[in-house]
């Protein structure tokens, strides 16, 4: 059974464009807010539906945050992690090649394939102390 045709709409384009300019995980609501602030009015429900669609077509990665929110990120963006301040939210982008390799190795050791991972570091930043 072939896929039903997907129509290219202004809204879907807008969501795709927004994702293209971000290489981070963002919640549906954040993406909705970004679109709104850019003057492109896209309904929240449509954002959810579009992201779901993109996920089914492997155009975006989805993961769940610790508090149950879904986060989306376009595939193939550069990979990095975050150092986040607990109180003010200030974020520093971190790279850790060693960790990447370690994660890959550990996963393969256990027979897991197509490995990916998430990593975030939290702390109290200089300005908040």
């Amino acid at each position: 059974m072939p896929d039903q045709p997907l129509r290219l709409t202004r809204q879907r384009q807008a969501v795709a464009d927004a994702l293209a300019t971000i290489d981070d995980f963002r919640s549906a609501q954040e993406i909705h807010a970004v679109l709104a602030s850019q003057g492109h009015g896209v309904g929240l429900a449509t954002v959810y539906r579009t992201l779901q669609l993109l996920a089914e077509h492997d155009q975006v990665d989805v993961l769940r945050t610790d508090d149950g929110e879904a986060s989306y990120r376009r595939c193939s963006g550069t990979h990095h992690h975050h150092l986040v301040c607990r109180s003010c939210g200030a974020t520093v982008e971190i790279e850790g090649p060693a960790v990447e390799q370690w994660a890959q190795a550990v996963a393969e050791e256990h027979g897991y394939a197509d490995v990916s991972h998430t990593l975030e570091i939290f702390g109290d930043c200089p300005r908040c102390r």
Copy 2:
């Protein structure tokens, strides 16, 4: 600030006992149902509160399912990470002393104090391929 004393109540005992007999991740609602079916009446809110408490004390592992539910499982009580199968959810506990130290170092380098972190590795496990 010392921990406040934790009281041992029938309800907490019941939740702990239930977890002891289960070797899998279960949602709070499932655990609540198990207790109910055993005649131990424990309020749903109490189950949630108890699981949260156990999680804070590293007595249970918490993870989010793809549909946003929290799942709990008793664990070894030491700090560790998870290697999770994308399709069946099979989980392996992972330790990575090197990563812990690296995270700590990176954070301090940026002036962040009281460091903690989260790390999860995802892949397709042997049985799902």
